[in-house]
Amino acid sequence: MRSRLRRLAPALAAVLVLSPLVRVAESDTYPLSTYPMFTADRGSIHDFATVVGVDGAGAVVRLSPEVIAGTDEVVLASVTVERAVARDRAEGLCEAVAARAGRPLTEIIVRSETVDLVAHIVDDEPALAIVEHARCDVTP
């Protein structure tokens, strides 16, 4: 019995953990993942949906994931902004961020930034293009 269990248990574990192989590679779930992260080439130019603040001097200020989406997870914050932009709900997000941000910021902007990834990281190159989706005031 014990020797049978010793052979069977690892085999069952193998079947379980490798079962995602029968799914489409991009079809991910939890806890039996296909592990599709880090697999696809994202290319060197990428659009990022972001939310920034503007201070009293007119300077752009980067906001934390907590202010942007009420979470400390940057990935969740990113998805939140992407979805709001894609679903034409940028203004609602803008108001929500403004309520969380408060002073000394005067404005919140939901925007997309097109970035050359390597140039930005290595040479600190600014965004190639910026498209504004929503802008709202931060009320005191």
Partner: protein
């Protein structure tokens, strides 16, 4: 092998207890998320809407408590399944908001094995202290569970390698995909106000490093099953995997704590040898007194 299983019980359930405690604020954040974002997956696929806030709170409280008790081996047949189940539920729920994380998959699966392997609670545990007569276990008991957890660990890495080939083909080893992944992740962090890696710029500037780094990653992942063939190979592979996660942490500021601390890889390592060394520390002496770790009354043969 029963001693290794006992150490795995302590390591893995302690990790689950600490992780759910540290991440409690984030887990509770899910109660404030808009329900439109709810996208149930895995074991929670059947949910039509977010669960009541009170249930999330119960899971956030119960999981670390049950995990801590399972680590101590207190009423293990009850606390281990409860901890494994609640950890699976709370991590699944956390992943049901439109973004999947891949840091706790292996922990969830290995905790299930530990919960099934009730013999894990028969050594160096409060149960063994309370009922020494029931705590009879031979040295080879629980080998199946250790082997199953090793297979789970190796399998996850193998799957990650296969996914790269399935999605990007063998071009992945050219290094371009790795370059763009490292830069993408750091830029996203920067634009969304999260700390990014100060070493990323240097690494990305060393373009000649990309292909070798990609090849090394692919060998580690696709070669993972070799770790099951021989004890020494398994140990070397596990240490290489820790190095891989250290690289990911340094270059991308992405932490896989369960893997980085080698807890998920511990079934491949002689972690039972740590016990005598730890027993000589102050905490270890207290533990030894409590659990009769090194006493002659230990019921464990091996």
């Amino acid at each position: 092998m029963i001693k290794r299983l006992a150490v795995l019980r302590i390591l893995m359930f302690t990790y689950a207890a600490i992780w759910t405690t540290v991440r409690a604020p984030h887990l509770l954040d899910t109660t404030d998320l808009e329900s439109i974002r709810f996208d149930p997956i895995g074991p929670l696929w059947f949910l039509q809407a977010p669960v009541p806030d009170g249930l999330v709170l119960v899971l956030v409280v119960v999981t670390p408590l049950a995990a801590a008790l399972a680590a101590l081996g207190w009423r293990y047949r009850l606390t281990a399944p409860l901890a494994a189940f609640s950890f699976l539920m709370i991590t699944t729920y956390r992943n049901s908001w439109g973004q999947l994380f891949h840091t706790e998959n292996l922990a969830s699966l290995q905790l299930i094995v530990l919960a099934i392997a009730t013999v894990a609670g028969s050594v160096w545990s409060l149960d063994a202290r309370r009922h020494p007569s029931r705590a009879r276990a031979s040295a080879d008991d629980g080998r199946w569970a250790v082997d199953a957890m090793a297979v789970l660990a190796v399998g996850t890495y193998f799957l990650a390698g296969v996914a790269k080939v399935r999605i990007s083909g063998w071009d992945w080893v050219s290094g371009d995909t790795l370059l763009h992944q490292v830069t993408f992740d750091n830029v996203r962090k920067e634009l969304l106000g999260d700390p990014s890696s100060p070493l990323a710029a240097w690494f990305v500037g060393q373009t000649w490093l990309m292909a070798p780094a990609a090849v090394a990653s692919m060998i580690l992942e696709l070669g993972a099953p070799l770790a099951l063939l021989h004890r020494r190979v398994g140990q070397v592979w596990a240490l290489a995997a820790v190095g891989f996660h250290l690289g990911v942490l340094v270059l991308m500021y992405i932490m896989f704590p369960y893997h980085l601390l080698a807890i998920g890889l511990a079934p491949l390592l002689p972690v039972e040898n740590l016990a005598p060394r730890l027993a000589r520390t102050t905490v270890g002496r207290a533990w030894t007194r409590h659990f009769r770790l090194a006493s002659s009354t230990s019921p464990v043969a091996g």
